[in-house]
Amino acid sequence: MIEVDNLRKSFGDTQVLKGITTTFESGKTNLIIGQSGSGKTVFLKSLLGLHTPDDGTISYSGKPYSEMDIDERVGLRQKIGMVFQGSALFDSMTVEENVMFPLRMFTKMSKSERQDRADMVLKRVNLVNAHKRFPAEISGGMQKRVAIARAIVNRPKYLFCDEPNSGLDPKTAIVIDNLVNEITKEFEITTVINTHDMNSVMEIGEKIVFLRKGLKEWEGSNKEIFKTDNEAVTDFVYSSDLFKKVRQMYIEERN
C-alpha cells in the first residue's frame, strides 16, 4: 500500500503538484488520469523518489520515504518495477540482457536461472523470438512489452507505468492493459498507471485519481466515473465523440 499525503512539488516558480492526498491499495490497479501537462509524470516520479517533494509525505507500507535511510531506500527500489513512457530500455543491451539486468544486479541467481526467468516473463508478455535483438531493432509496441518484462522480472511489490499505451494501436494497448492487470492480481502488486486512454479507464480502472492543474479533482472507480456530475471529469471522459454519443444514449435511457 502507498499513502500520499499533501504532496507538493514546484519547479522554480511553477507549482506542478499543489497538495495531493490519496491511497493506493495492493492487489489493485490504480489509474492516474488527466490532460497532458496536468502533472501525472511528475506525480509518479515523486512517488518513486526521482523528484524530491517540496512538502508532504509518501509512505510505502506505512513507512514514510523521507524517513528511510539509504539502505532502506535502495531495498525499496529493488521491490519497484517501472515502465517509462518511452520504455527506457538500455540501448546497448539486447532484449534479453535488458530483462535480465535487474536479476544480474540484485540477485545471486546463476546465469541459467536468470535465463529461465527472462524466458518466462518474455513469454508472459508475448515476445518469443526477439531475445537477441537490440531495442532499436524492434517496434515501439515490442519495446513496451520488453519494458514490462523488465519491470516485473524481479517480482516487484510495486509497479508503476507511465502512459503504457501511448503510441500503441488500440488492440496492443488492450493486451498490455490486461497483462498489467493480471500480474497485479496474481502477485498482489500495488500498481499505479498514468494514462489518458479512456479504454484503459473502462477496462482496468479499479481506482481512478483525476488530476487537474496539479490538484486531485476527483477520485473513484470506473463504475462511478461515468455517472459523476463533476464537469471537469465529464469533459475529460467525454472528450471523444464516441463517448459523447454513449453518454447521450445513457441520459436518454434514464429519462
Partner: protein, 245 residues
C-alpha cells in the same frame, strides 16, 4: 553564480562516483567496454596525427635554422622537447576532448533524455557510479595513448628529417639524446593523468545533468568540449608552473 553552482555540482558528482559501487561482475564488463570505446577506438587517430605533427615540427624547426652556427642535431632535440612536453600530452588531449568527450557526453546525455538514467535509479542503481566510474578506470590507460603519441611523434620527426633531407639519422638521434632530462617525462605523465581524469569526468557531467531532447544532446556535447578544453589548458598551465617553473 551559475558557474559556481556548476562547479559545485561537478565536485558533488565526483563524490558520488565513489559511493555505493556497482557489483564487480557488472562493473568489469562496463570497464572493458569503455576501454574498447574510449582507448582502443582512439588509437587510429592518435597514431595518424602524432606521426604527421611530429614530422611537421621537425620540418618547421629545420626551416627556421638558417644560421650555420646552429648545429643540425637541434632538429632532433627540438622535436623531442616539443613532442614530449606539449604535443603528446596536451595537444592529443585537446583532440581527445573532442573525440572521447563528445562520445561520452552524447552517450550519457541520450541515456538521460530517454529516461535510461531514471530507469537505473528506480532500480536502486547508483547511476553516477555505474556510468562514470568505468570511464575513469578505462582512462587510467590513457598514459599508454600518450606514450604511443610521444613515440610516433618522434618517429614522424625522424622520418620527415631524414627522408625530407633536413638532417641525417645520426644527427637527429644525437639531438634526441642531447641534454635529456628524465623529469620532463615524469612531468608529462603527471599532466597526462590529470588530463585523463578531466576527459572522463567533465563530459560525463555535461551529459548526466543535461535536460531536454536530442537537440540539447548536441549542444551539451559542444559545451562539454569547450569546458574540457579550458580545464585541460588551465591544468596544463598550473602543472607547468608548479613542476617546471
Amino acid at each position: 553564480m551559475t558557474y559556481l553552482t556548476a562547479i559545485g555540482g561537478y565536485f558533488l558528482m565526483i563524490k558520488n562516483v565513489f559511493r555505493r559501487p556497482t557489483k564487480w561482475s557488472i562493473l568489469k564488463d562496463l570497464i572493458f567496454k569503455e576501454i574498447e570505446d574510449l582507448i582502443y577506438n582512439s588509437m587510429g587517430i592518435v597514431i595518424f596525427i602524432s606521426f604527421f605533427v611530429g614530422g611537421v615540427v621537425a620540418i618547421q624547426t629545420a626551416l627556421n635554422i638558417d644560421n650555420p652556427l646552429i648545429p643540425k642535431y637541434l632538429v632532433g632535440f627540438a622535436t623531442r622537447q616539443s613532442v614530449i612536453l606539449e604535443f603528446a600530452p596536451t595537444f592529443t588531449s585537446i583532440i581527445m576532448a573532442g573525440k572521447m568527450g563528445s562520445y561520452i557526453t552524447s552517450s550519457i546525455g541520450t541515456m538521460r533524455v530517454t529516461e535510461q538514467i531514471d530507469a537505473l535509479e528506480v532500480m536502486g542503481v547508483n547511476s553516477i557510479n555505474y556510468l562514470v566510474l568505468p570511464k575513469i578506470i578505462a582512462l587510467m590507460l590513457y598514459p599508454f595513448v600518450v606514450a604511443t603519441s610521444m613515440f610516433l611523434g618522434i618517429v614522424g620527426g625522424w622520418a620527415a628529417s631524414v627522408y625530407g633531407g633536413y638532417s641525417n639519422s645520426a644527427d637527429f638521434i644525437f639531438g634526441l639524446q642531447d641534454e635529456f632530462i628524465p623529469f620532463h617525462v615524469t612531468y608529462a605523465f603527471i599532466k597526462t593523468i590529470l588530463f585523463a581524469f578531466i576527459l572522463a569526468t567533465i563530459p560525463s557531467y555535461h551529459g548526466y545533468f543535461m535536460r531536454g531532447g536530442a537537440l540539447e544532446v548536441g549542444k551539451a556535447s559542444t559545451t562539454a568540449f569547450v569546458w574540457t578544453s579550458i580545464a585541460i589548458i588551465l591544468v596544463n598551465y598550473l602543472t607547468t608552473q608548479l613542476l617546471l617553473g
